[in-house]
């Protein structure tokens, strides 16, 4: 038992702020620096809400979505529940493809592996098909299926929203058989 306590005390020494890996201003600075992005809002029309709700597989509420833009690059900060608590996800889209995806906050006690670059790097350069599906396969994490699904849904929605504010960047991917986006377990 003493061994157990010393084991846990050893690991508890490195205390950081819980669950928050990067603040929104820090993320925007990292993404747009030295440029100053413009904050804007995408209004959620009934049609857009319906599509967004299909992508997230639950009802989308609210009137508008905040985003930041500089040139053709947009940044979207969204929250989606994995199992029980919201994951804060930053998605940067450029030319209709994901430039960067980052987990800014992860609050659940399991599934935090989605924040590692080895996982998030899979979303780099991914775009959406006309069916609003990602055009690349995302390998999942065993035991973190719900977190992986949440991240994938937000990535898809960010790409869709980007298309609404940059309609000229609609991807020209030919309609094809829907690929499975997330490797679930099994």
């Amino acid at each position: 038992m003493a061994l157990l306590l010393s084991f846990t005390l050893f690991f508890s020494s490195a205390v950081l702020s819980k669950g928050i890996y990067q603040t929104v201003p820090e993320f925007l600075e990292e993404v747009f620096s030295p440029e100053e992005p413009q904050q804007a809002f995408l209004w959620l029309t009934p049609e857009l809400k319906e599509t967004a709700s299909k992508i997230l597989n639950h009802t989308v509420r609210g009137l508008r979505v905040r985003y930041w833009q500089s040139g053709e690059k947009t940044a979207w900060i969204m929250e989606e529940i994995g199992k029980e608590l919201p994951i804060t996800i930053g998605v940067v889209v450029n030319q209709g493809r994901i430039d960067q995806l980052k987990i800014l906050a992860f609050r659940e006690s399991r599934g935090g592996e989605v924040r590692y670059p080895a996982f998030t790097a899979q979303y780099q350069d991914v775009k959406i098909t006309p069916n609003n599906k990602l055009d690349a396969h995302i390998d999942g994490i065993t035991g973190a299926t719900l977190s992986v699904r949440a991240v994938t849904k937000v990535a898809t929605l960010a790409l869709h929203y980007h298309q609404q504010v940059n309609p000229e960047q609609l991807t020209q991917t030919p309609h094809k058989e829907n690929k499975e986006l997330v490797t679930t377990s099994p």
Partner: protein, 411 residues
């Protein structure tokens, strides 16, 4: 000259004054018009005052409603609901199995599991989680089923990426012991190796520390109630030892440690060791008073695109004294390998080979093998239809073969 000019100017002014001054009648008209305007303005003012008054009432009512929503009982209920989660899973099976030993044959429908999760987040760092399960639908004296609380614990995040829990929790061992919602594994029934060797589903009461020590590396370490393989009741299989935290004998504790790697997408590698200080929990048998036991378990899961594979090996090394109950029971071990392939987003096929022996400690042929072949069809991420063919062989010649159908869900 000057007098003539003056007279002319005065004359002009008088004429102009005579022309500008209204007559008495015109004055009366003017007064009446102004009176009408005043009356109209008063009426408008009255309307405005009435509207202002109505607006105040409405505003007050709106404030009251907003207050009720944001600070009243509704808000408190919403706040509580925000922090409280409900979930669950279930699986209904149809087994059509034939055995050389007719008593083992099955042709039956079974609501195998119906499970409800309840959780509550007390604050950012402290939460409760529970799992209440009804097995085989009807529980009670003389019935087939059981009502079990498989999980009921308080979990505390005591440091960034580190947490501790106390209560009743699932053992951190194997692939399906902790994650066993039906849509997460292939096969109608859970694999026989984890069932008979680990033994899943396995929960104990105690304390467990968990967390991450490096990118992709996590640990669990804990102390908890142990197994009780009652020698006086001729019990020897490790699965017989589950006390299910129901007035569980606590004479001798057990210790568990696991290290797991999930740093690469699609890959999980894990190893668990557990030491039971005495699986006889103070009972004595054949002059022996103690039987310690150690479990070693290794597994790997790999998914890459549509391809997936699971492999697991588990071994119990039990004190030789258990051989006084049953020969060869001092070693109980097994392994399985399960390749799978997702043909489409919704359809996946699998094959599984399992081998296990609950009396591996001697030379007699007590080993069992099972072959499974089947598919899962996901109607949704959380709803699955399953079908498989299985054949179980044993060295003694008993064979169980046939097919299973199932539907499962979780939310």
């Amino acid at each position: 000259m000057h007098k003539k000019l003056l007279a002319a100017v005065v004359g002009l002014n008088v004429a102009a004054a005579a022309q500008a001054a209204p007559s008495l009648e015109e004055m009366w008209d003017l007064v009446q018009k102004q009176q009408a305007e005043i009356t109209q303005l008063k009426s408008q003012l009255k309307d405005t005052e009435q509207r202002v008054s109505e607006t105040e009432v409405k505003t007050e009512a709106t404030f009251a409603a907003v207050e009720e929503v944001t600070a009243g009982p509704v808000a408190k209920l919403a706040d509580w609901a925000d922090k409280t989660t409900i979930g669950g899973y279930g699986e209904m099976h149809y087994n059509n199995l034939t055995s050389d030993d007719s008593s083992k044959s099955k042709d039956e429908f079974d609501l195998h599991r119906f499970v409800v999760f309840f959780g509550h987040q007390f604050n950012e760092d402290l939460r409760f989680f529970s799992e209440l399960e009804v097995e085989h639908n009807v529980a009670g004296e003389g019935k087939n089923g059981e009502v079990e609380v498989e999980q009921a614990f308080i979990e505390w995040d005591y440091a960034e990426n580190h947490r501790a829990k106390a209560g009743v929790f699932l053992m951190p061992v194997g692939i399906i012991n902790e994650t066993h919602e039906p849509e997460t594994f292939y096969g109608v029934e859970r694999n026989p190796v984890e069932k008979n060797i680990i033994p899943a589903t396995w929960w104990e009461g105690g304390a467990m520390f968990s967390g991450e020590i490096a990118e992709g590396f996590s640990y669990d370490a804990g102390v908890h109630s142990g197994l009780f393989i009652d020698p006086t009741a001729s019990k020897s299989n490790i699965r017989d030892g589950r006390q299910k935290v129901s007035k569980a004998k606590g004479d001798d504790l057990a210790y568990t440690a696991r290290i797991k790697y999930t740093g690469m997408p699609g890959l999980e590698l894990a190893a668990t060791v557990q030491h039971q200080t005495d699986v006889w929990q103070g009972e004595s048998f054949a002059g022996e008073e103690e039987a310690d036991a150690t479990l070693w378990e290794l597994h790997g899961v790999y998914n890459n695109g549509p391809f997936g594979v699971r492999a697991l090996y588990a071994q119990w090394d039990i004190d030789d004294v258990i051989e006084n109950v049953k020969a060869g029971a001092d070693e109980q071990e097994g392994f399985y390998i399960e390749p799978s392939y997702r043909l489409t987003e919704k359809l996946g096929i699998f094959a599984r080979y399992s081998e296990w022996d609950n009396q591996a400690g001697d030379s007699s042929d007590t080993e069992k093998q099972q072959y499974d072949l089947g598919f899962n069809y996901w109607l949704d991420d959380h709803v699955v239809l399953k079908a498989d063919y299985m054949r179980e062989d044993s060295e003694t010649g008993d064979e169980l073969r046939g097919f299973n159908l199932g539907v499962g869900w979780s939310f």
